[in-house]
Every structure is written in structure tokens, then in C-alpha cells.
Symmetry: C2
């Protein structure tokens, strides 16, 4: 008899990503996590020998991959960077609304709130740079000079991150939608 199909491991990662994002890493207890994922403790420590902190890294990766997909969906068909950025922000706003303003920004939440200690910090740093470079690559592909692409990518990520946080406080995605117009007038 197997569980609602996604493997135990996957369920573990998905619920971890979800709960960490909604309540924060430290505010999420293992028992809460396990009962939400319908997974017993033994399985957690089988799949993730280092327990919670290990899971945090997996969840971060999982979320980063998701985020990159959204980025690609927005930028691949775009005629220029500005258009891509606009689409991305709208997509994110939609996602934000779907989550009912309850979840923290995928980037900041999963990467910057986690177990203490270098391992996680290093991983988060690397993941974040990967994200930015990926975005910058879209920029150069769309004709921007390397430096400009890097700057714009950085600015966009910074703004999304900040806007999401504040949007959450306000429980409104408006700020997210208004972002591109204000950033690239």
C-alpha cells in the first residue's frame, strides 16, 4: 500500500518547504512537520540523516528549482528584459494571492532562515548566486550588456524580495504588481 503517491521523501521535502515558508524554520516543530507529511520519525532520519537541518537544505533546493521555472516561464517568451520582469512580477503576484498572503517570499524564507552554522549559510549563498546569475543570463540573452544585465537582475531580485515581504504584511499583492513600472520607468 503506498501513500498518496509522491514518495515519502518528496512529501517530506514539500511539506517542509511549505511549513518553513509559512511559519519559519525555527517555529516549525518536527512533530508538526511529520504529522503534516504523514511520515514517521524513522523515515525522516533514514532519508535525511542530519534531520531537520538536512531537510532545510533539500527544501531550499526544491524551492529554488521551482522559482527558476517561474523565472524561465516569464523570460523565455519575452521580447526584452523589461517585459520579462513584468511578467515575472505578475506571475509572482498571482502565486502570492494563491497562497493567500500567508507564505514568506520563496527566496528569502528558504534561503535566509534556517539552521545556524556554516553548511547551510554557504549553501544558501551559493543557491542565491545561482538564481541571480540565471536571471542575468536571460538579460544578456535579450541583448543587455553583461554589466547592465547583472545590475538589473540584482535589482529585480532585491526588489521582489523586499516587495514580497511588505506585500505579506499588508496582505495585498499590489506592490508586487506595481514593481516593474516603478523599477524600470
Amino acid at each position: 500500500m503506498n501513500s498518496p503517491l509522491p514518495t515519502t521523501r518528496d512529501r517530506l521535502i514539500a511539506t517542509a518547504a511549505h511549513l518553513f515558508r509559512r511559519n519559519g524554520y525555527h517555529a516549525t516543530g518536527l512533530s508538526e512537520l511529520l504529522s503534516a507529511a504523514q511520515v514517521p520519525k524513522g523515515s525522516l532520519y533514514h532519508h535525511f540523516p542530519d534531520g531537520k537541518s538536512d531537510l532545510a537544505i533539500a527544501a531550499a533546493d526544491w524551492t529554488a528549482a521551482q522559482f527558476i521555472r517561474v523565472m524561465d516561464d516569464a523570460f523565455t517568451p519575452a521580447p526584452d528584459f523589461r517585459q520579462g520582469a513584468t511578467t515575472l512580477c505578475f506571475k509572482l503576484a498571482k502565486l502570492f494571492d494563491l497562497l493567500e498572503a500567508a507564505d514568506a517570499c520563496p527566496i528569502s524564507a528558504l534561503l535566509f532562515d534556517g539552521p545556524e552554522g556554516e553548511p547551510f549559510r554557504t549553501h544558501a549563498d551559493a543557491t542565491f548566486n545561482r538564481l541571480t546569475r540565471h536571471l542575468a543570463a536571460h538579460g544578456t540573452r535579450l541583448g543587455l550588456p553583461v554589466q547592465t544585465a547583472t545590475d538589473q537582475a540584482e535589482l529585480l531580485v532585491v526588489a521582489i524580495q523586499g516587495a514580497w515581504t511588505i506585500a505579506r504584511a499588508r496582505r495585498s499583492s499590489d506592490l508586487l504588481r506595481a514593481l516593474p513600472a516603478r523599477l524600470f520607468p
Copy 2:
């Protein structure tokens, strides 16, 4: 014999603000906090009957007041909004370096990571709006139309918040310094 002069209550607030910002609300244990502040438990629950969550609100207020002072210092002597924003970002970058990149952004950390439940959320929301309005007021004072002032203030706070987070990940305040030039080209 009295303690290093600031009252027990003040020491409590200051260390709470400090630790919450550095490690997060949930990651900071009461015992850690109390021993850092050199305050016994009894005193905490005397001054803050609701304990940790109560303290979180006080710490948020304390930090917000500090932040407003920095804002005022930057904007009061400024000839226009752009200049004020530039000075503010540089001041924050300096502060960031002083803290050795270890502390989260004052705005996001103290307002958006705290006890669950409406009381704190509501208070955080109000405090945040107060901050933005205060900044916008500088804008109008410096000659900006109300709508523009509001928008610029919002954008600036969003960007500072995002930039600080990422600056922290990178352990470099450069992004914070580069911000004004990129936001208001």
C-alpha cells in the same frame, strides 16, 4: 548597587532587539536572552507580563524609533528626496558594516519575525505603515507631489529591506550603497 546603569527594563529591550535581529525571534531562547541581559526571569515577567511576545513588541518599537532617527538624520538636511535617500542608504551601509553583517534588516527582522497571533501582526503592520508615512512626509516636505512621495517612499523601503537581506547573505554592504543610484537614475 545598580547595574551598568540602563535600567533592567531597558537592558531587556535592547538585548532582545539585538538577539532577535541576529538570530531570529524563535531561535532565541529565553534563557539565552536573560543571561545575555543579566536579568533574572522574575524581572522579565514583572516588566512584561506576557513574557517573550510582549518583549518582542517592545523591541520592535525600540528599533523602529531608532530607525526613524536615522531617517530623520539623513533627510532633514537634504536638499531633495534623492539626496536624502542616498544619505540614508550610506548611513545604513555603515551601520550594516558596524554590525559585521550579522544582523538582519531592522525593519524586516523586528516587524516580520515574531510571535504568532494577531496582536503582534497588527502592531507590526501599524508600525511599518508609520515608518513609510514618515518617510513620505519627508518627500512632500522636499517638494514632491503626495502621490510621488508615497510611491518613492514605498519603493525605497522595499529596496532597503531587500538589499539588506541580500547584503547579509553576501556579507557585503556594497549593494546597499549602490541602491540609490540604481533606484533613481
